[in-house]
């Protein structure tokens, strides 16, 4: 099963591997959500949605419905 950004836990470090889904807005890519960039979960709201992330130094919040389209690898457990 492929890992997505929606699976990341607090304290884990991830790397983005694919963002080609059409459900990912261009704006998110422009803010640095691109393959190869590191990602980390900073905080989650109740029900784990939205997610407050640190992607390549940019801090932003996205909804779970977008996060499930971003494929990642976990680099440390």
């Amino acid at each position: 099963m492929k890992l997505t950004l929606a699976d990341i836990k607090r304290g884990q470090q991830g790397v983005i591997i694919d963002v080609s889904s059409i459900h990912i807005p261009l704006k998110l890519l422009e803010m640095g959500c691109l393959p190869g960039n590191p990602v980390e979960l900073v905080q989650v709201a109740p029900f784990a949605d939205p997610m407050y992330l640190n992607i390549n130094g940019t801090h932003l919040a996205i909804r779970k419905e977008t996060a499930i389209h971003i494929l990642i690898e976990i680099s440390n457990v």
Binding site: H23, L26, A61, I62
Partner: protein
């Protein structure tokens, strides 16, 4: 006289672009609108060395030149249109030293337009704190520009920036990377088909679905030698373009920037652990809201009482000093009370905008968006709807404009439709005066009944907004792509200058914008109340004198009777009586009726109208409140403003859509009269029914 240099300030949101603008222009700035749309246009004049002047435009914040909102469109439209009178001689891209990588994306796009560009690296005072070092000479060479290291907080680097602007002709206009490499074949064809156009400009036109100046999309589609690509292919290319640009930026920063993470300190993580916490986060937000309402109620009552009585004495003074006549009466009974009805708002508007701008400046507002998104989504709203709903407590107009960053059209439309339910500052004077008349003084667990009533009215407003959003979410069948991206900026101490300028600007635009309407209506009302036709009006003195001849009235009492008889038969009295049957079941008399009718233009007119109506026909100037307390219900006797009619009025104002300016803004933002008309009819009908029930139950 030499020509002014046109400067455009461009940058991502949260880079302190507006602080740079404020530092350059100080008080020499004005805020208007772009023609035909409600996007705010900020421009100002800056004095440069050697007597040169610069005309500076602060463009809306944007993450890239790929526009996804009206605000961002403004940026592209200006940069692509050489014939625009504001077309920049030089672009100043403002970036934040902590987010340089992301900020440079927009910079590389601007460079592709071959406009002379200066790079401002702002918040440079935080470099040591964050362990950041920059090789400016290297960066200037790679990015083909001049860099100004600026700290608006420490007031550093602004002079250097001014110097760079003055010498803008020396700047390079070469792009810093070749983005067309992402699909060489495609771009070669494009270049051949339009040899006289800038390649990047064509690319923007193709991908944006908008027309710019002389070239438009259809024209490109119409040329046979060139085939544009399908939507999905274009999007893939845009992704490739973004990746390409980031590659260049990463390579440049690898050498030009070193970050020593060990010496970096991060307050953000500590603060966010509490402020966005599942429990503490919400508690803190609730406490902040409570503090704001308490403060507005308590702090502004002192200056408001002062303004109220000052205008009453000013009116009396005018009457005593100026010769008697129609002109004096217009000033003392029409214009001065009308002006008083505007000025009395200033303390509250200023306080509200003070709080809102501090919350925005510190970066806390984004945390509220994060915290509230999930809850708001249940009602068909977005976390971003919280900002409009909170700003709606100041005024629905900026609040509705603040919905623009909501990406989903459905969520945005619902936010626009329900925002007018929140208790705006124009309702506040109506509430305050009626509460002080009908709610007894006294305390409940240390909180005054009056403050609690006010609090309850705010809650009713929010409640109505949320419930109608929920209903609209069920009814409206709109399919729209929903996505949600919010930047969580670093926490910052608010800059006094920025906050002060916002408060000043918003207050000013209220006083002059709404003020004009209020003043005009006051004058019209005075006229309608002072003139009339028919026997009853013209011969009021005779009629009353004969009628009360047998009773031994003092001349003062007699004069009062004459005036009120006259008012009742003036034009306004006739109009008021005509609508009385419709509002009598709500517990109102014809005078309140007039105030309600006139406040369909703007709610805040209510108090001013009553002030004008009551001061016409009274010799002694008293405060508005005392006059209202003395009014007697003509049919039932007893005070007109009693508990039942007071509550009924409060509820009517809580729900009715009484603001022409809001309707106009909703029309502009939704691009149709359909939605504002729905708002007007449904909200007002609902208000009538609720007020009716309240009065009939309580009386």
């Amino acid at each position: 006289m030499s020509k002014q240099i046109n400067v455009a300030l461009i940058g991502n949101p949260n880079t302190g672009k507006t602080s740079v603008f404020n530092s350059l222009t100080g008080l020499n700035q004005k805020v208007g609108n772009y023609p035909g749309i409600t996007v705010e246009k900020k421009e100002g004049i800056c004095k440069l060395p050697r007597g040169v002047k610069a005309h500076i435009i602060d463009l809306p914040g944007t993450y890239s030149l790929n526009a996804s909102s009206l605000d961002e469109n403004v940026v592209i439209e200006l940069l692509l249109n050489k014939n625009d009178k504001d077309f920049p001689d030089v672009a100043v891209v403002v970036s934040d030293v902590e987010n340089l990588k992301r900020n440079l994306l927009l910079y590389t796009q601007i460079k592709d337009l071959k406009i002379p560009t200066i790079l401002v690296i702002n918040m440079s005072d935080r470099m040591a704190y964050k362990g950041i070092q920059l090789d400016i000479a290297y960066l200037e060479k790679e990015l083909q520009t001049k860099i100004a290291l600026v700290s608006t907080r420490k007031n550093k680097g602004i002079d250097q920036l001014k110097e760079l602007i003055t010498n803008y002709k020396e700047l390079s206009t070469e792009p810093c990377l070749n983005a067309s490499e992402i699909d060489k074949e495609y771009f070669d064809k494009l270049r051949k088909a339009f040899p006289n156009q800038l390649l990047y400009k064509l690319w923007l036109v193709i991908t944006q679905d908008v027309n710019f100046g002389k070239i438009d999309r259809n024209e490109i589609d119409a040329i046979n030698s060139f085939k544009t690509k399908g939507k999905a292919d274009l999007k893939r290319l845009q992704q490739k373009e973004t990746i390409k640009r980031y590659q260049f930026i990463n390579n440049t920063l690898k050498k030009g920037q070193t970050i020593d993470l060990k010496s970096a300190k991060d307050l953000r993580i500590k603060l966010d652990r509490i402020l966005t916490h599942k429990v503490w986060g919400y508690l803190i937000f609730a406490v902040i809201l409570l503090t704001i309402f308490q403060a507005i109620y308590d702090w502004s009552s002192v200056p408001m009482d002062f303004i109220d009585s000052a205008f009453a004495s000013l009116s009396e003074w005018t009457k005593n000093v100026m010769p008697e006549g129609a002109f004096t009466s217009l000033i003392a009974e029409g214009i001065i009370p009308g002006l008083g009805g505007i000025v009395i708002f200033i303390p509250q508007i200023a306080f509200l905008f003070l709080f809102i701008s501090v919350l925005e400046e510190t970066g806390y507002m984004s945390r509220v968006v994060f915290l509230m998104d999930r809850i708001m989504r249940r009602f068909g709203l977005s976390g971003k709807s919280v900002v409009p709903l909170i700003s709606g407590t100041a005024c629905a107009i900026p609040a509705i404009m603040a919905t623009r960053n909501i990406e989903s059209w459905k969520e945005r439309l619902i936010t626009i439709l329900v925002t007018p339910f929140t208790t705006c500052s124009a309702r506040l004077p109506v509430y305050l005066i009626i509460i002080s008349l009908v709610i007894p003084e006294g305390r409940f667990f240390g909180l005054s009944y009056q403050a609690l009533t006010l609090m309850l009215l705010y809650l009713i407003g929010f409640g109505a907004a949320i419930i109608s959003a929920w209903i609209l979410n069920k009814i409206l069948k709109i399919k729209s792509k929903t996505f949600f991206v919010v930047e969580m900026p670093n926490y910052k101490l608010p800059l006094f200058k920025n906050v002060a300028l916002t408060v000043l600007e918003k207050t000013k635009s209220f006083v002059f914008g709404a003020g004009k309407i209020i003043l005009a209506i006051s004058i019209v009302l005075w006229f309608l109340a002072s003139y009339g036709s028919g026997d009853d009006f013209n011969n009021a003195e005779e009629i009353i004198t004969t009628q009360f001849a047998s009773e031994n009235l003092s001349s003062e009492e007699l004069q009062q009777k004459i005036s009120s008889h006259q008012l009742e038969h003036s034009f306004i009295g006739i109009a008021g009586h005509a609508i009385e049957p419709a509002i009598r079941p709500l517990g109102y008399d014809w005078k309140i009726g007039i105030a309600i009718v006139s406040s369909f233009a703007a709610r805040e007119v209510f108090v001013g109208t009553l002030a004008t109506i009551y001061s016409v026909g009274s010799d002694e100037e008293e405060t508005i409140k005392n006059r209202m307390a003395g009014e007697v219900n003509p049919i039932l006797g007893g005070p007109l403003f009693n508990f039942a009619s007071g509550i009924s009025l409060l509820l009517f104002y809580a729900f009715a859509m009484q603001c022409m300016s809001t309707l106009a803004v909703v029309k502009r933002e939704t691009n149709s009269w359909k939605w504002p008309m729905y708002q007007l009819v449904i909200m007002s009908a609902f208000a009538y029914v609720v007020a009716l029930i309240a009065y009939q139950v309580l009386k």
